[in-house]
């Protein structure tokens, strides 16, 4: 028996070493191609990104682009560790403002001003999210995302419901659905980031006064415990009564699957989920922008600067990677991206026909709205405890009735006041 084990082990050893030497080596692209790796936090997009990259590879037959994303929760830490240790990918997704800035300050990101002069033509609000005070641009502002409410037209039609414009109409719609025994929202409270990044940041600005109030929050002129922000907390809290049974244990993916397979009438989600929801078989998908407070109010629309694409300064294949990142900032990439990933809106200047009707609605809503980004993202999430983490926890607890809206607001305010200078006074 022992003999058999040893033989087996030896065989496996030989097999293992052999196959490893055959394929494990990153540089050993047999056909002389240069491989560049591209990492992001979008593990859902591997197949779509591969299709986009195929277009580039066809034009540049000497370059092979490998798209290797990392799970969202671990992404930033892993990507940073990779860059700082010289093992990182060549092309990287970079989050906007401080989270991306920290990476740039780490010293391994290539400055793009010289090689990509076309970046100056990008919307300045987007460029600002990935550049320093003295104008050094360290990532191609790639995509922005919006937030709103998805619904199933079939279910709305069944009860003769219309897309609500105001918050009161929104609540009335939810109430009608609830009274008729429908599952109103496919919404859960398990993954705390969705409650803040999607629901509060998406639906809240109409209550707290959008971009203007957000700027005042940054400077410390306003607090999260001020009435406008409290109203946003209260509004978000009001939605809890329409959540499905077991919402406390419903994670992000289950929410998507639940709504995508038609088991709930509405879903407060991000534009980036459009493709996933369609893949899940939703054919009667509808969408409306975050309802305003009073009729006639201007929509305060969270159009978040989501992803920039940056270049690793220490890349072993800098010229090729540069070639690729130039392509990424081109209208061709923008068009491909928006077709493959409906709901991701490119910042590359140009006029792009959108094939997806809902994506069109999402971008259309921006035309007469005041745009803003996620509430405590800029500056307030640079250190621990970060605004992001505090908001997530506060909202999660609020939806489980451990916190009142007032307690939730002061929890975040007090948490930030431990380090955020403008709040410390």
């Amino acid at each position: 028996m022992i003999k058999r084990i040893s033989v087996l082990l030896v065989v496996l050893l030989v097999f293992g070493t052999f196959t490893l030497s055959a394929g494990g080596n990153k540089e050993a692209a047999a056909d002389g191609k240069v491989q560049i790796t591209f990492t992001s936090w979008r593990t859902e997009d591997i197949e779509r990104m591969n299709r986009i990259n195929a277009v580039f590879m066809e034009k540049n037959p000497n370059i092979e682009v490998l798209f290797q994303p990392i799970n969202d929760n671990e992404y930033d830490a892993q990507m940073r560790a990779g860059l700082e240790t010289g093992t990182g990918a060549d092309i990287i997704f970079l989050r906007s403002y401080d989270t991306g800035r920290i990476v740039y300050d780490g010293g391994s990101i290539y400055e793009l001003n010289k090689d990509l002069p076309n970046l100056e033509g990008f919307p300045s609000a987007a460029v600002k999210a990935w550049s320093t005070e003295d104008g050094k641009i360290y990532a191609v502002p790639s995509v922005g995302v919006t937030h709103g409410v998805y619904y199933h037209k079939d279910i709305f039609d069944k009860y003769g419901l219309k897309e609500p414009e105001t918050w009161d109409e929104f609540i009335a719609v939810a109430q009608t659905l609830k009274d008729n025994g429908e599952v109103v929202f496919a919404q859960g409270a398990l993954d705390d980031w969705t409650s803040y990044e999607v629901v509060f940041s998406g639906l809240g600005p109409n209550f707290y006064g959008g971009e203007e109030s957000r700027q005042k929050l940054i400077t410390g002129e306003m607090k999260l415990t001020d009435k406008p922000f409290l109203d946003a907390f209260r509004a978000v809290d009001q939605l809890q009564q329409f959540f499905p049974k077991g919402y406390e244990a419903l994670d992000y993916v289950s929410m998507q699957t639940m709504f995508g397979t038609g088991q709930a009438a509405m879903f407060m989600g991000g534009s980036w989920e459009l493709g996933i929801l369609e893949d899940l078989g939703s054919t009667d998908l509808g969408w409306f922008a975050p309802p305003v407070k009073e009729k006639g109010d201007t929509l305060q629309y969270c159009f978040h600067v989501d992803a920039g694409i940056a270049l690793n300064k220490n890349s072993e294949h800098l010229p090729e990677a540069l070639e690729y990142i130039k392509w990424v900032s081109s209208p061709e990439y923008a068009q491909l991206l928006m077709n493959e990933l409906p709901g991701f809106f490119s910042y590359t200047p140009g006029d792009y026909p959108l094939t997806n009707a809902i994506a069109k609605e999402m971008i259309g809503a921006a035309s007469d709205a005041v745009l803003t980004v996620r509430t405590v993202w800029e500056k307030m999430s640079a250190q621990s405890p970060s605004g992001n983490a505090l908001m997530g926890e506060a909202l999660q607890k609020m939806w489980k009735d451990e916190f009142t809206p007032e307690e939730a607001a002061s929890f975040v305010q007090d948490g930030l006041a431990t380090w955020y200078k403008p709040f410390m006074k």
Binding site: N73, E74, D76, A77, Q78, R80, A81, E84, T85, R95, T99, I102, D105, G106, G188, A189, L190, D191, D192, W193, P244, K245, G246, Y247, E248, A249, L250, D251, S254, T257, M258, Q263, S381, A382, Q383, S384, P385, S386, N388, A389, L390, G392, E393, Q396, K397, K400, D414, G415, T418
Partner: protein
Amino acid sequence: MTGNKAGKVKPFMVFFLLPSILIYTGFLLLPILDSMRLSFYSGSGLIPDKFVGFDNYVKLFTRFPFKNRMLNAFSNNIKFFFIVTLIQNIFGFFIAFFVTRKIIGKGFFRKISFLPTTLSVLVVGFLFKLILNPVWGIFDKMLAAVGLDELIRPWLGDPLTALPVLAIVVSWQFMGESVLFYTAGIDAIPEEVTEAALIDGATPLQELWYIILPSILPIIGIVTILIFIGDFTQFDIVYAMSTTMANPAYGTDLFGSLFYRTAFSTPVRGGWGMGMGAAVSTVMFVIVFTGVMVWLYFFKLKEKKND
């Protein structure tokens, strides 16, 4: 066991010992000491480089949210350890007792009990996360099928149930280890002893209490200390079932997940920087070390006295 040429260290002996000494020291012992050193440093980079004295500890023990997270992880870990120890020891012991009786298929039961232990904690965690999903998880459907709808809860979303559920899953997985150890202990009891007892008319219960239990007492100690060390560094199960954010709202946070999140995540995802991470791991070391010392005192020293 006496060596042939006492006292003299020959070159081949050095050669034989050196690889183990080097790897063990270089990649296990020194890193742990060095991590403790790093807990006195701070810095935004991958490796903390600014000496800050006891700052990290002051933060960790006095300030929001650091103190709260640590105390939360500590109390969660104690509960977790308590549940796992109870289940694994009691169930494990009885199952081991049963499979050492004359029962049909005992070999099969012995074998099967260890099967989950061979799987990775990650796979088991993911599997049970799917089984407990509130929308299409099998578990709730099973409860409904047998008319126990009343019991259905948001298992992984309610702070009251989430932690015990994780503890039960871990116990389910590692039950095989306790069964195996206890079975080995019971099998090692000389047959004459049990036979003599049976001839004297001892009931199975008496046999259990007077013969089996005393002789496997040291094994209870080993099982418990293994659970202790494993649980206070447990990470995989939290990662798989509750993500690194230890949902719901840190309700399932254990020291292992706290350590990972603080050290290796960005502030946006609840990270505190590597220096703070090193401080957390040092606290963990103190806890594990204390636990092991207590165990040595109670089980090992007592054993010596009894000898």
